[in-house]
């Protein structure tokens, strides 16, 4: 796992890890005392860097000082290189004095990611396709851009991309949800009826499960909701703490013809998932066995349980079972704020699930996403026969900024989920195909040869809303020839190895987005290939926020993980850039990384994209298609 241990406050874990106070490293430039001199040095350097960059384009590569090239991507030239850090700082005076101008904050709102107009959002709730509309409900705090007394926000869409916001679906108007209408799921019954189970935080802050249903089932917009008068339908069972009982799942059919749900909880530090059977969603029977449990993982929030097809290319209804099916158990780990999943086998008679690979069990193995991604939930889209994943993407800036801009949180772009037929040991996630309809104005680059230590600016009309699809090939000769290898290289860790500035023989290389022309701010998304002593290659996929912004009050972690690469596969990535969110996908969605970035300079017309190869030895050949993304109705 890339996250650090929970109790390590010297390095607060990734979700809240901000750059610490400077220890006099000289990283922070102070106001120049010689503006004219600095201006002159700046202009000379700007010209030189432009000339340098121009020299890189084209087949005939000029003699390249790889040290210089590497330094462009690193923290800045040291004094011995003759150019100080501060000379790259644009001298804009008052406009640049304080990080967050309204111009900068306004830019942060996305073009095609779901977000309410203002205030706070967290978990997606009850996603469902009903009478021709996709519904998304969500945890919403209407009063401030911070978590608080939560209600169910509601929006509808025909295509998962363009949204119509509707009135609040459920408020905190009953004793059993007075402290919050928390997360829940929808189930469509065979006769087309829709029911919702959700967690209420009672007037005494006890977590209970409640039943709700549409006031008018013939209303496709499902505007009004009725809460079952007999609520709550479930209260914490004996042995379960009244504050460890939340987030009921969509129900699925048992062999006996009953409905079954699962609810995450914990016993001491063991994360568990309780199982209940019901015939009417009003009275429930707790099974003796939990669906699954993993010691040491802590509270399981937002549990999700669903079948995936072993052979097929479609999603499956939650009730499907049989020999051609595997089951996924997913849970959000309260302790480390990440979503984990595991593939295994479900025993419908016992109501028990077992992972295929216990070393990769829930909470200790694979994550849906190696960046900011939590409280996710899938639903079966019966219209297009796919399983679609929604997730909450929180802010990683300060609360003060969220208050200034008036909003906090996004949903990730919905993704389809399938079993990876090639590896069999992970799922693949891919943005829903409807997102492609926003593509316009393609720029295509074919077979760009990028030598070790070089940077290629990509000429684009704009760079805040992009869909980038790229393929890379390392030159075989270098890979084969490489003898100076050690297992230290294959122990690379995106989070700890210094990001795109740290050079290896075969990486890093990739694309840097939301990049300012001097690379004062940029966000590299890259592959790092390591060759082990056994000659095998290990590929890492990372997104580096360490230089994403000059502001010092935003998270600058580096995220990523290993990505499996099958023999004969080129390295491929897809990057959705949408203002303050960057979603990156490697090898068709085997490894995904969602990042939040808050540049102060690389915004509006100043945002650019560069292709880079910061390896020391290998040449990389890259082919890319970059589309401008139109804005959706969000």
């Amino acid at each position: 796992m890339a996250s650090s241990s929970p109790s390590d406050l010297e390095n607060p874990h990734a979700t809240c890890s901000y750059a610490p106070l400077p220890g006099g490293t000289g990283d922070e430039p102070t106001v120049s005392r010689h503006p004219k001199k600095s201006a002159a040095i700046f202009l000379v350097c700007a010209f030189l860097s432009l000339a340098f960059v121009v020299a890189l384009i084209g087949v005939d590569k000029a003699e390249l000082n790889t040290n210089e090239a590497a330094v462009v991507l690193s923290r800045g030239r040291g004094v011995d290189k003759g150019v100080s850090e501060k000379s790259f700082r644009p001298l804009l005076g008052a406009e640049n004095s304080y990080p967050w101008s309204s111009n900068m904050l306004d830019w942060q709102r996305t073009g095609f990611h779901f977000q309410p107009k203002n205030n706070w959002m967290n978990d997606p709730n009850g996603p469902v396709f009903y009478k021709g509309w996709y519904h998304l409900f969500y945890q919403y705090h209407p009063d401030a851009p911070v978590w608080g007394k939560i209600v169910w926000g509601h929006a509808v869409s025909k295509d998962l991309v363009n949204w119509r916001h509707l009135p609040i679906a459920m408020e905190t108007d009953q004793w059993y949800d007075e402290q919050g209408v928390w997360t829940g799921s929808a189930t469509i019954l065979p006769d087309g009826q829709l029911v919702v189970l959700y967690t209420g935080s009672t007037n005494e802050s006890v977590q209970v499960q409640n039943l709700a249903y549409p006031a008018d089932p013939s209303d496709p917009l499902l505007i009004n909701w009725v809460k079952y008068p007999g609520n709550p339908v479930l209260v914490p069972p004996p042995g379960i703490d009244e504050k460890d009982f939340r987030d009921p799942t969509t129900a699925w059919k048992t062999p006996e013809g009953k409905w079954r749900i699962t609810i995450g909880s914990k016993v001491n530090k063991t994360g568990i998932s309780l199982v209940y059977d019901t015939e009417d969603f009003k009275s429930f029977e707790l099974l003796d066995q939990v669906l699954h449990a993993v010691p040491g993982t802590g509270m399981w929030e937002c549990v999700d349980f669903y079948p995936i097809s072993k052979q097929g290319e479609n999603g499956l209804d939650t009730s499907i079972d049989g020999p051609g099916v595997k089951h996924v158990v997913k849970a959000s780990m309260d302790d480390d704020r990440n979503d984990y999943y595991s593939i295994g086998t479900y025993d419908a008679l016992k109501g028990k699930w077992t992972p295929d690979n216990p070393a990769s069990d829930v909470g200790i193995g694979l994550r849906y996403d190696y960046g900011i991604y939590y409280a996710s939930k899938t639903f079966y889209d019966q219209d297009k026969q796919r399983r679609v994943l929604w997730s909450w993407i929180k802010e990683t800036d300060t609360e003060a900024s969220d208050i200034s801009k008036g909003w906090a949180s996004l949903m990730g772009v919905p993704r389809t989920i399938l079993l990876d037929k090639k590896t069999q040991t992970n799922i693949i996630q891919w943005p829903v195909e409807e997102i492609n309809r926003l593509r316009t104005n393609a720029t295509v680059f074919k077979n760009l040869v990028v030598e070790a230590g070089s940077l290629v600016p990509l000429e684009l009309p704009a760079a805040s809303q992009l869909d980038i699809v790229a393929e890379f090939e390392l030159d075989e000769a270098t890979v084969m020839r490489l003898n100076d290898v050690s297992d230290a290289d294959v122990a690379y860790d995106c989070a700890k190895n210094g990001g795109a500035a740290t050079r290896g023989a075969l990486g890093p290389f990739g694309i840097t987005v939301l990049a300012h022309e001097g690379l004062i701010e940029h966000t590299p998304v890259y592959f790092y290939v390591a060759k082990g002593v056994d000659g095998n290659l290990k590929t890492f996929f990372c997104a580096d926020q360490s230089r994403s912004s000059s502001a010092m009050d935003v998270d600058k972690s580096i995220y990523g993980n290993v990505v499996p690469v099958m023999k004969g596969e080129k390295l491929s990535m897809r990057i959705l850039v949408d203002h303050s969110i960057v979603e990156s996908f490697a090898q068709g969605g085997r490894t995904c990384i969602t990042s939040r970035v808050y540049p102060t300079k690389a915004i509006y017309n100043n945002a650019q994209v560069f292709l880079f190869n910061n390896a020391t030895a290998a040449t990389v050949t890259a082919s890319l298609s970059i589309w401008q993304m139109k804005s959706a109705q969000i």
């Binding site: 929970p6 109790s7 901000y18 402290q179 300060t398 609360e399 200034s404 009050d553």
Partner: protein
Amino acid sequence: MNFSSPLTILFTLLLLHETLYSTMADQKFIENTCKGTPSPNLCLKILLANPKSQNSDLTDLALIGVAAVKDKGVEIIRQIVALKSSKPKLRPTLNYCEEAYHAVVYADVPSSNEALRGGLAKFAEDGMADSAVESQACERSFSEHGWMSPMTDSNKAMNDVANVVRAIIRMLL
């Protein structure tokens, strides 16, 4: 009641012993809790300053901690307002700091309180983590613009308290 009866004396002694033992147990609980924080002495100071801490469970101790963050935040905002008059040149940075501490007192603290009462400790942890970051951001904003910070002690105090409370909250997860 015969006060000099051996039984009465024994009963009284036992009662005193139980109370003493119970108080010692609570004290031990507070001490152990504070040992799990980055600044145990500061933690003890905060918790013991509130008499309710003697009968507190972990959630109550965390709430006492959040109240301490709020008090410190309110005090710092007053300091900022005073500095804006006495050091007008620093006003732009002080405005930034005021917004930072405003977020602590009016957003992070209420959110953390609500989260602790509801049993969603993670949101309370986020509130305290943000409080520490706001204090760091305020402190850095002075040097970023070539000024000496007039608030170093205050910013450090907030950072330390927030990190202590965050550590207590993590024990609830």
